[in-house]
């Protein structure tokens, strides 16, 4: 695994779109070639080298390439955009679309990531050690095909509209979550270790939501079934089991209606 380190030297006056900062775009390039890759500030096109110091050559393939992003990239969008393999480590906080449309590899943001991180994620792993913004692991506007696979871990809190139109994969949030979780989902699983506000699992067709903390208002479309014992990441606990959204349509398998499941720790 070859490591390319890019360090912010000239922060943009506005915001920077760095969709070329991904193992796929770097693969097979020398530091000099990488510095020539395009980045965009508003309607102007510049080079990565104009804003960043670039050190180290990339590996032959994305899988053999690791990117370390240093310096203040709070105003940089699209880091890890569409990455399919390899690794991206952002040492600070970053802006919109971190790891958006990623299909593989691993991305770590040591600070916070703003909205639309892991949009329409298909595979790989995204770890946000700080807080995540809104629409984490959600579908792009109008698309009914949201997160299909992969794993997202948020060590801090997450915003609203987490996992909208989720179809598969897993999202784990160690902290608290704002309104709207897995709206319209037809699969996948979300684990919330902290508290969550209202509007959870609205219009959910299929999928699983597990809540360790409080939930201020339960959607009327959720019906209590029973208490169950669950083991999540090695921790055993008793949960109240709800099914829903009973206002939504649901598939049938062998005459059995398949509901979404919501588990709330007692």
């Amino acid at each position: 695994m070859e490591t390319v380190t890019i360090t912010m030297k000239n922060p943009p006056a506005l915001y920077l779109e760095a969709d070329n900062v991904s193992p796929d775009a770097f693969a097979g390039k020398t530091a000099a070639q990488i510095a020539e890759l395009h980045v965009y500030e508003g309607n102007t096109t510049g080079t990565l080298g104009k804003y960043f110091d670039v050190n180290g050559n990339a590996g032959a393939t994305a899988a053999e390439t690791k990117i370390v992003v240093k310096g203040d990239v709070k105003k940089v969008k699209y880091l890890g955009f569409k990455m399919s393999a390899g690794e991206v480590v952002v040492e600070g906080s970053t802006d919109l679309y971190a790891g958006a449309w990623m299909t593989g590899g691993k991305m770590t943001v040591k600070g916070n990531a703003e909205a639309f991180a892991a949009t329409a994620m298909k595979g790989g792993e995204l770890v946000i050690e700080g807080n995540a913004g809104n629409y984490l692991g959600a579908a792009y506007r109008g698309d009914w095909r949201g997160m299909k696979g992969g794993k997202i871990l948020v060590k801090g809190n997450a915003g609203s509209d987490l996992g909208m139109y989720m179809l598969g994969g897993e999202i784990v949030v160690n902290g608290n979550v704002d309104v709207h979780v897995m709206t319209h989902a037809e699969g996948g699983r979300t684990v919330i270790k902290g508290n969550v506000n209202s509007k959870v699992g609205g219009q959910l067709v299929e999928g699983t939501i597990i809540i360790f903390g409080t939930l201020d208002v339960m959607m009327p479309g959720y019906k209590y079934v029973d208490d169950v014992e669950l083991e999540i990441d090695g921790a055993k606990a008793t949960f109240a089991h709800f099914i829903g959204d009973t206002g939504e349509r649901h598939k049938k398998k062998k005459g059995q209606v398949i509901y979404g499941n919501l588990y709330k720790k007692i």
């Binding site: 915001y15 965009y40 639309f116 506007r141 139109y165 709206t183 209202s198 009327p220």
Partner: protein, 438 residues
């Protein structure tokens, strides 16, 4: 001698009434009387005649005074600002005609700007919901001719769309609704006992911000599933009663407004309301329609869509169109500090954006094109007054149900004043030169 202009279109709200009659002086220079319009529409026509009206472009001076300049100087200032900007926002468009919007899009394409209309703070979240789940709707004539179940959810037409109920939704006697109001059941959902709610057969005084839950509960009721005793402050018996009332109609309609688009859950409120409408079509015929505000905000969305592919919040900075409210939407762009120039036309963000966003406008190079003095013109560097569209110039507009209606010119603008379109064409041509030179 005077003459009367008939079939005049009212350029105020999305109801786009087209039956006004306006009396003008024989020379067509003075507007004397307005018939058939609501108080707001009447005021709009009459105010165009006010003597204290600003008729020439003005540059804001540091001491707060304004320096009158020529339209040509205003064109130069605007073109230069757009040519220099890395990320300009061209915002508004909802109070001008589609022809001007079209020229504006050419400018935006050359300037590689962000473009947005007032849906941003009005029905933008409706558009997001429509993109997520679709929208079964109809034209307003269908309501007049067929509808026997009328639901006003989070909207107050008695105040915001004064002639809506008399022209389309409650009182008219249509083809299959010969008894007019008698043939209709009216439900209003609002946290206040609004003047609209006072007319309703049923008023659900909902707990503010819980529309998503109540809409969900109605769908649960349609599925005959278990319900909590109270949802959003409404007892479950009432919820089941209203669900049955909706099901039992022949043709129903949900009209909704800012009450749902601007409250917590926003697009999700509309999303669930549309899901409810779709759900009701398994039992009877049901439609849903946003109560669009500005008289041509709908047209702006249409023109954006057929030219760029998206109805609002379009970002052209990369040379091609992109769209994602939250990133490309005006209020977020301003509050996040993403812009370096502001161009406003046919709207008043200074009055209708959160003050934290307006503060950013005040700190940017800015042009405001508006017949009125507004908070936006008050914080802009350049104010360009123009003719009143729909009064002093015509052009195509789209009603809240997307029906296109060609506005009529009823009087001449004051001597030497330009229309939106005329000013924009000059800016476009100048910008072409500047870009060509660059």
């Amino acid at each position: 001698m005077t003459k009367t202009v008939t079939d005049v279109i009212c350029p105020f709200c999305g109801t786009l009434c087209d039956d006004l009659e306006v009396v003008v002086s024989d020379d067509g220079k003075q507007l004397l009387e307005v018939y058939n319009a609501c108080v707001i529409g009447t005021e709009k026509f009459l105010h165009s005649q006010s003597k204290d009206r600003v008729t020439r472009p003005r540059l804001h001076q540091p001491d707060g005074t304004w320096k009158e300049i020529s339209y040509d100087d205003a064109v130069e200032y605007t073109a230069q600002m757009l040519a220099k900007a890395k990320k300009p926002l061209m915002y508004g468009w909802s109070s001008t005609n589609c022809e001007a919007q079209s020229v504006g899009n050419e400018i935006a394409e050359m300037a590689r700007a962000c473009c947005d209309n007032t849906a941003a703070v009005c029905h933008g979240t409706t558009l997001i919901a429509v993109q997520d789940i679709g929208i079964p709707s109809c034209t307003l004539g269908e309501i007049k001719n067929r509808a026997d179940r009328i639901i006003f959810w989070g909207c107050n037409p008695a105040h915001a769309h004064p002639r809506h109920m008399s022209r389309y939704s409650i009182f008219p006697r249509g083809f299959f609704t010969g008894k007019g109001q008698m043939s209709r059941k009216m439900v209003v959902v609002d946290p206040r006992v609004t003047d609209t709610a006072k007319m309703a057969d049923v008023h659900l005084q909902i707990e503010q911000g819980r529309d998503y839950e109540l809409l969900n509960a109605l769908r649960v009721a349609l599925n005959n599933e278990w319900l909590p005793d109270v949802v959003a402050g409404i007892p479950k018996e009432k919820i089941r009663e209203v669900a049955d009332m909706m099901k039992s109609g022949r043709f129903g309609i949900i009209f909704f407004g800012m009450g749902v688009t601007q409250s917590l859950s926003k697009n999700h409120n509309i999303d669930e309301a549309i899901a409810l409408t779709k759900h009701l079509n398994e039992f009877t015929k049901f439609s849903i329609m946003p109560m669009r505000g500005h008289y041509n905000v709908t047209g702006s969305g249409e023109v954006f869509a057929w030219q760029f592919g998206f109805p609002y919040s379009v970002d052209l900075t990369r040379g091609f169109a992109r769209y994602n409210p939250g990133d490309t939407s005006s209020v977020d762009l301003l509050i996040r500090g993403e812009l370096d120039a502001m161009f406003t036309i046919g709207s008043d963000p200074g009055a209708h954006f959160p003050i934290s966003a307006v503060k950013h406008i005040a700190n940017l190079p800015s042009v405001c094109i508006d017949p009125h003095l507004t908070p936006t013109s008050g914080v802009s560097k350049l104010h360009v007054p123009v003719a009143f569209n729909g009064v002093e110039t015509g052009g195509n507009c789209y009603r809240m149900d997307n029906v296109p209606i060609d506005c009529r010119k009823v009087v001449e603008p004051p001597e030497g004043m330009l229309t939106d379109e005329q000013f924009l064409i000059k800016v476009r041509d100048r910008l072409k030169q500047l870009k060509g030179a660059a």
